[in-house]
Amino acid sequence: MGDNEQTIQDVETQRLLELYFASASEPRSRAADKTAKHIDADTLAAFVESSLSLRESEPVVAHLVDCGFCRKSSAELIRLQNEFSTEPVNDIVRQGESVTISEVVSGWLHKLLGTSDATVFAHEESEEEKEKSEKTDPGEKE
């Protein structure tokens, strides 16, 4: 078969597949969704990152073929991973933002843990900084 003929046949097959996915088989596979247990978040996340072994991936891939919900979730997660893969990791809080973020975070932690700001951030301030703040703001001590 020539290259052109092959290309035409591939295009034809692609279009037939579009038809196939949009009609007969998909509702059948989706019907299986309702009874099957979905893939848990931990496994799905590891699959999307290609962290699972071939052995572990086999049942996952088989499930994704049959379960529209998990497949859609995995596709969205793949997009999300690509979208955020170039974003710089915000590991270090910039000095200028620290007060605001600390305030917000402390609010969150207070809500979640029921703790006071002082407890949560006690370890954040170094002795040197503490001394410095005491020197520059003596009024606070009173």
Partner: protein, 330 residues
């Protein structure tokens, strides 16, 4: 090999891993017992993942090597409610969670609501046997904590969407926003006179034969080939997105395709995967389907070459008439 044997064999490694994590985060108050317990759960899940194929010692070794130990250490500490760990988590991941939530909740769901729900879930409000159940306890360390968080956020958003849309089920929701929206079928028109009725009967026969043959052809593909086609044609992942999915040398999908192509696989080949490679894999799948589709129509439905071409023509005609593509992209 049973779990206990596995664990005792790898115990020195677990302890070394624990020491490293402890050194990096001495204030998290994670005990060796808690850490070993969590790794043991991960190992159990790993062993149970495929009942037919027991894990080899090499595979287990590889699992330990790839474990995101520091992420797991942080998750264990957060699950137990350690304040320092929560502070660290907040510093490292809060803005990331917010960015993801903002990106995903473009429409009617408030990103801050999603963030709040995720935090609540991570901390855990449910109490079982007097102990708080934190979502962090379900993190195994197999993937990165960031990847796991993305999935937790996505699931939270789905649940939020469901509750805000009169308890629409997950399946219904998927159908509304995804490929399910395209329930395009061959539309059968009411027949007119006798000739038209005969034509209609013939068309119906061709339609059924086409769908059946496609069903058989698709069914003969291996799971990884089916998934590739579904990602590309149903989920509309681009070639670029699929390429990035299979980019890691250990990608199972990539290894399966390479194994079938007679190349080395399963061992983390470090050559790059290009979009053209993925296109080649797709073309191979098209080739297999096309071949099987035609032979199925010929042998099973007993159609002649001319009739097979009629089937294809009919399918193409109906495709363009009923805008299946338009529906699919909706």
């Amino acid at each position: 090999m049973p779990n206990e044997e596995h664990l005792s064999h790898f115990q020195p490694q677990i302890e070394a891993m624990f020491d490293r994590c402890k050194e990096n985060a001495p204030n998290f108050d994670v005990t060796l017992e808690a850490f070993s317990g969590s790794v043991s759960n991960t190992l159990k899940r790993f062993c149970d993942a495929s009942a037919d194929t027991p894990a080899t010692a090499d595979e287990t070794q590889s699992l330990f090597e790839k474990l995101h130990a520091d992420d797991l250490f942080l998750a264990i500490a957060c699950a137990s409610g350690n304040e320092r760990a929560w502070w660290e988590f907040d510093q490292q991941y809060r803005s990331y969670i917010e960015s993801i939530a903002k990106y995903l909740s473009k429409t009617d769901v408030n990103a801050s609501d999603v963030t709040e729900i995720v935090y609540t879930e991570l901390y855990g409000t449910r109490v079982v046997d007097g102990a708080r159940v934190s979502k962090f306890a379900t993190y195994s360390g197999r993937g990165s904590l960031r990847g796991w968080l993305r999935t937790v956020i996505w699931h939270s958003l789905v649940d939020l969407h469901r509750t805000s849309h009169d308890e629409v089920s997950l399946d219904e929701m998927t159908e509304n926003i995804g490929e399910g929206a395209a329930h395009a079928t061959f539309v059968v028109e009411a027949p007119g006179g006798e000739t038209e009725m005969m034509q209609q009967i013939e068309r119906t026969r061709y339609r059924q034969a086409t769908i059946n043959a496609l069903d058989v052809a698709f069914g003969t593909l291996e799971s990884h080939e089916k998934l590739l086609l579904l990602y590309y044609h149903v989920e509309r992942l681009t070639l670029n997105e699929i390429t990035r999915l299979v980019e890691p040398p250990d990608s199972p999908l990539r290894n399966w395709f390479q194994q079938r192509a007679g190349k080395r696989g399963g061992g983390g080949e470090s050559t790059r995967t290009h979009e053209s490679t993925v296109m080649r894999w797709l073309n191979k799948c098209y080739g297999k389907i096309s071949q099987r589709f035609r032979s199925e129509l010929q042998s099973d439905s007993g159609l002649s070459s001319r009739e097979i071409e009629s089937c294809i023509e009919l399918a193409m005609e109906e495709l363009s008439e009923h805008s299946v593509f338009k529906n699919l992209s909706a």
